[in-house]
Amino acid sequence: MSDDDHELRVSKIRSGTVIDHVPGGQALNVLAILGIDGSKGEEISVGMNVPSDRLARKDIVKVEGRELSQDEVDVLSLIAPDATINIVRDYDVVEKHRVDRPEVVEGVLSCPNAGCISTGDEPVSSTFDVFDDAVRCSYCGTIVREEIASLIDT
């Protein structure tokens, strides 16, 4: 059974964005990174841990009525470096993107250092420099290599 067959388990969208090849179990973190929680009435479909040819198990996220920008999808690279992004209009895929690792992510992750100024009540967004294998808080310098998903500011 191909990836496409499994993708169909999640209903097709008319217009919006399909985020495919997300590592299994990371779909909800993808939504958190994108700041999508359904509270604004977004129509969201999620497939989790479906078999995949490329990844042993993958997640799929479909967001109806919203075309994500390249900047938005690039932050997904922190947890889904192999994700593919399909922009859909009238049931047709009109654009396909891969995620690129951004140099900086802002307002997406919370610094795990409780002594960092960015964790307080100051009027600043968290800012992390993105390395190949880690992220680093721009304020206190803390480096995080693993469990980056646990830093997602939900």
């Binding site: 960092c116 100024i117 808080c137 304020y139 206190c140």
Partner: protein
């Protein structure tokens, strides 16, 4: 040297450092030459943590340049007590002063504050982060006593939380110094600092040790910091290691006659008082050097601010 703010020693090049140290030496030799150089200028002191040496030396430095200070006072008597953010506080005080000095318990506080102000902001310690002006006076003291070329230095004590240590380590990597870090396992240098020293500053020569004896005879400088008892969840764990990181005249028998012993102060019991009387002791001189070094730094920053030419 041309910086709007002094936030971390990582931003200081070898040339920047030498400019400040050379200027400090000129000022120390002839302080009267700069006595009215910044008459009328005001330095804003924002100390959110207790401080004696840093605060008083900044105040002295500014007054010896002919300027004056405006002091936020204690946190308890300030608007911070009412819940004002640091961002608001610095935006208000920059309207009163020509430059700001900030000490704050949170790491990254100076970085964040600098995003909100246009006047020069000097980091006087941000939590366990950085203390770059202390580093400049440390380097001045090292240069005077041992020289900065081909230096072998041991840095001992609480390396994990010691901001003076982190700042000094970065700055020393500009001088190809051999740096030996001596601490108990639980207080080792933060991995972020080690990463920077190894990865970003390729010239750094860094080794870590648990015992001073391993390295003491080869040192030109031994920089001691306080092992902070309050960091240990178990008092017996502190007692086990505390004695191993104390310096007395017996310890120094294994050292070179030329060894310079430094400490950012305050000390508690990590350097025995008897060491004060030896030729090794440089920590009071080190504290005194804070004035000419901070005079030099303020002079350079305020002169830049006034559009004058660097000297």
């Amino acid at each position: 040297m041309r910086h709007d703010h002094v936030i971390t020693s990582k931003q200081l090049s070898r040339s920047d450092i030498e400019t400040v140290l050379d200027r400090a030496a000129e000022i120390r030799d002839d302080p009267t030459a700069v006595a009215d150089r910044h008459a009328g200028a005001l330095l804003g002191l924002l100390f959110f943590e207790p401080s004696t040496r840093t605060k008083m030396s900044f105040e002295t430095a500014m007054k010896r340049l002919g300027g004056d200070v405006v002091d936020m006072g204690s946190v308890e008597s300030s608007s911070v007590k009412k819940g004002e953010t640091l961002a608001d506080t610095v935006r208000v005080i920059e309207g009163y002063a020509d430059a700001l000095v900030l000490r704050h318990p949170k790491q990254g506080a100076a970085t964040m504050a600098s995003e909100f102000v246009d006047v020069p902001l000097l980091n006087a310690g941000d939590g366990a982060g950085q203390h770059p002006t202390q580093t400049l006076l440390d380097l001045y003291t090292i240069r005077e006593n041992a020289g900065l070329e081909d230096l072998t230095i041991g840095i001992m004590g609480d390396l994990k939380y010691g901001r003076t240590v982190h700042s000094l380590a970065y700055a020393l990597s500009n001088f190809d110094a051999h740096q030996h870090f001596i601490s108990p396992e639980s207080l080792r240098l933060p991995r972020e600092v080690v990463y920077d020293l190894h990865q970003e500053q390729e010239r750094a020569q860094v080794r870590e040790h648990e015992a001073l004896e391993e390295i003491l005879p080869s040192l030109d400088v031994l920089y001691v910091t306080r092992i902070q008892r309050e960091r240990f969840p178990d008092e017996t764990e502190y007692q086990k290691i505390a004695g191993e990181y104390q310096i007395d005249v017996d310890t120094l028998e294994a050292a070179s006659d030329d060894l310079t012993v430094m400490h950012p102060l305050p000390r508690v019991d990590e350097i025995a008082p008897e060491v004060d009387e030896t030729e090794h002791a440089a920590y009071f001189e080190q504290a005194h050097n804070g004035v000419p070094v901070r005079m030099a730094l303020l002079d350079l920053l305020l002169s830049d601010d006034e559009g004058e030419t660097d000297e």
